[in-house]
Amino acid sequence: MELSRRTLLAGGFAAMLGSTVVGCSSSINTGSTKKNATGNIALWCWPGGLGKSVLDDTIAHFPDQHIKYSEVGGDFKQKLLTTFNGGTSIPDITGVKGEDIASLLPQADRFVDLKTIGADSILGDYLEWKVKQATTLDGKVIGIPIDIGPTALFYREDVFTAGGLPGDPAKVAEQLKTWDDFLAAGVELKKSNPKAPIVADATDLYGTIVNQGTARYIDKDNKFIGDQDHIRRAWDIAVKAVTLKVDGKVLGGSADWNAGLDQGTVPTIVGAAWVALDIKSACKTSVGKWRVAATPSGPANFGGSFLTITKNAADPAAALEVIKYMLSPDNQAKAFADAQIFPSAPAAYDKPQLKAADPFFGGQVPIEVFGPAAKAIPIAYEAPLDSALATPFTDGLKLVQAGKKTSDAAWAEAVSKAKQIGKRQGVQ
C-alpha cells in the first residue's frame, strides 16, 4: 500500500518537473539558426565513411578553413539528431547515410539548400538518381552523394561450372537475364549439388527486387501503394524461390553465411558493391573463385551516403568548396582505392584505381559490371516512412519461408499491418 502511494507521489512530482523543464528547453531549441564561429569548419562522418588519404589531403588543401574532422561511431543519425536538438556544436558539414536521408528530407530547413549557394554547376557530375534521393519534393537539394551501392550478382565460378551452369561473367549475365532465369538456374544447380541453393535468403531477394523498381510503398501524394502489383511481383518471386526449394534461408552476416561463402554452400550473393569487402573477409580458401555478373532483371541500389551543409555553417560557400574538392572524381577514385567507397560521380569510373583487375575475382575488372549498373539504376520516390512500411512484408515472407503461413495469408496480414502503420503516421 505504502509503496504504491509513494510511487504515485514520485510520478506526480516527476510529471510536474518534467513538463516545466521540457517546456523551457523545447522553446529554446526550435529553429536554432545560431551560426558557428567563422574560420573553422567542423566535419562529421562515421568510421570508414570517407577515404583516409582523401580526408588528409582535403584538410591540407584548405589550410585557412581549419577543417576539424570528427569520426562519430555508433548510431550516427541518432547522435546527429541529438546534437541538432541540443542546439550547440552542430557540425558545418555532416555525412548522412543513404538509409537516413529520406527521413531527414522533411527537416530540410535544418540544412542549406545547395542550389542557393551555386551547387547547380556540379550536380550534373553526379548520378541523377542519387542526387534525387537528397532532393525534396519542392526541389531543394540538401546533399552531394559520397558514394552509392550498385548491386551485382556475386557468384562462385567453381560451383556454377560444376553444376552445369556457365562460369564466364558475360555468359552468366546472358543466361540469368531475369529472376525467372535465375531461379531456373537454381533448380538446375540443385540437381547436381543439393547443398548449394542459388538464393542465399529469399527475404533479401525480395528487398533487392523492390529496390529494382520505380515505385515503393508510398507514392508522392502520400498514398499507400504497397498492396499493388509491383510489390506483389517481388513477393511472388521470393515465394517462388521458397517453393522451388532453392532458398538457402541463410541470414546475411551470420556465422552460417560467412562459412557458407567460403565452403560453397552460399554460392551467390546479390549485393551492393561494398558487399565485396564482406565476402573477401569471409573467404580464406575460395580466393580467386568468385566472379561478378550483372544483377538479373537489372541493377538496384543498396546504401550509399551524402555530405550535407547545416544551416549553422558559418560560411556555407566555403563548406561547399570543401565538399566539391573532397568529392571530385579524382578523389572519389582515391577513396575507392582506400576503402572500397564506390564513386557517385561516373567520371571516376575511368580512373586507373577503378580499372584495376581484382585477383579475388579471378582477375576480373569489377567496374565493368558495376559501372554500367550504376548508370542504369531506376529512380524511385522514397517516402520518410518507407522503411517502416517494408518491415511487415519482410516479416511476412519470413513466415512463408519457415513454412508457418501460406503466401496469401501472409500477404494479407502484411498489407493490413503496413496500412495500419501508415495510418498512424498520416499515410492515406
Partner: protein, 310 residues
Amino acid sequence: MTLTATAPSRPAGTTKPRRRRSIRSYWRFYLALSPFYVIFIVFGLYPVASTILLAFQKWDGLGPRTMVGFQNFRFLAEDSTFWLALWNTVVLFVMSTVPTLVIAMALAVMLHSAVRFKGVYRIAYFIPNITSLVAAAIFFAAVFSTNFGLINSILRSLGLPTEDWLRQPWGIKIAISTMIVWQWAGYNTIIYLAGLQAIPTEQYEAAKVDGAGPFRTFFLITLPQLRPVVLFTVIMSTIGGLQTFTEPQVMVGNTGGTGQSGMTVVMYFYQQAFFANDYGYAGAIALSIFMLVLLFTAINWKLLGGRGRQ
C-alpha cells in the same frame, strides 16, 4: 471523513515548530546528500518525466512537437505488433526466469555443501554475468546456427534431426532464453549462496536429530528461510527479464526474426523511436513497459508474501 478521523493525532503544537527549525539547522547534511539527488534528478527523473510527456506528443525527432493527447495509447491498443511484443516478452520472461532460478538454487545448494575449490566455482559461475552481452549474443547465435552451429553438429552426430533454430518462432525463443539462463544463473547462485550461509546451522542439526532427509530439510528449512532472498531474485529477474533487448537484437536483428517472435517490448520501442522516427509512440510503449514491470512486481510481491509475513 474517515481519513480525518483516523489521521494520527499528534500534539501538533509541540512538534511543528521544532521540526521546521531542525530542517534549517541540518542544511549541511542536506548539502552533503545533495549530489546524489542532483544527479538523480538530471539523469533519472528528467528522462522519465520527458518520456511521460513524450507519450502524449507526436515528434519525429527533429521537428516541432505537437500534443496529441491519448492518441498514441489508442494506437497501442489496436496495434497487433505491440500485443505480440508484449506476449513475446512475457513468454521469454517465464522461459528464462524459471530455469534460471531453479538452476541457481541447485547450484547454490551444491556450492554450499562443497568443501574444496569453493572460490573457484563461485568465480566460474559469476563470469557469464560480466561477459559483454553483445559478444555473448554473437557467440550464441553461432552456437544455434543451422549449418555450422554447435548444437546442430551435436544433434547430427547423434543421428537426431537438426532444427533451423534461428528461423523458427520457437527456436528463436529457446535460443534467447538459453542465453539469458546462461548469463543470469551464476549471478543468482551467488545471491542464494549468501542467503544459505545466513541460515543458522542449529536448525539443520535439529532436523538431522529428528531424522529428516535431505529433501525434507531443503523444503522445510532451506526454502522457507530463503524466502526474502528468493523474493529479491524474482523481482530483480522480473525487472531485467521484461526489459530483454540485446540478446534478441543481436541474434535475430531489429525486426525480431521469423514471425517477429524475438521482438520484445523494449525492441519494439527502440524500433519505433530510432527506425520509424515516431518518438511519441515509442514514449507510449516505454510507459507500458514501466506499467508492466510494476504489475509483475506487485504480483510477485503478493505471491511470495514479501511484506509482513517474515
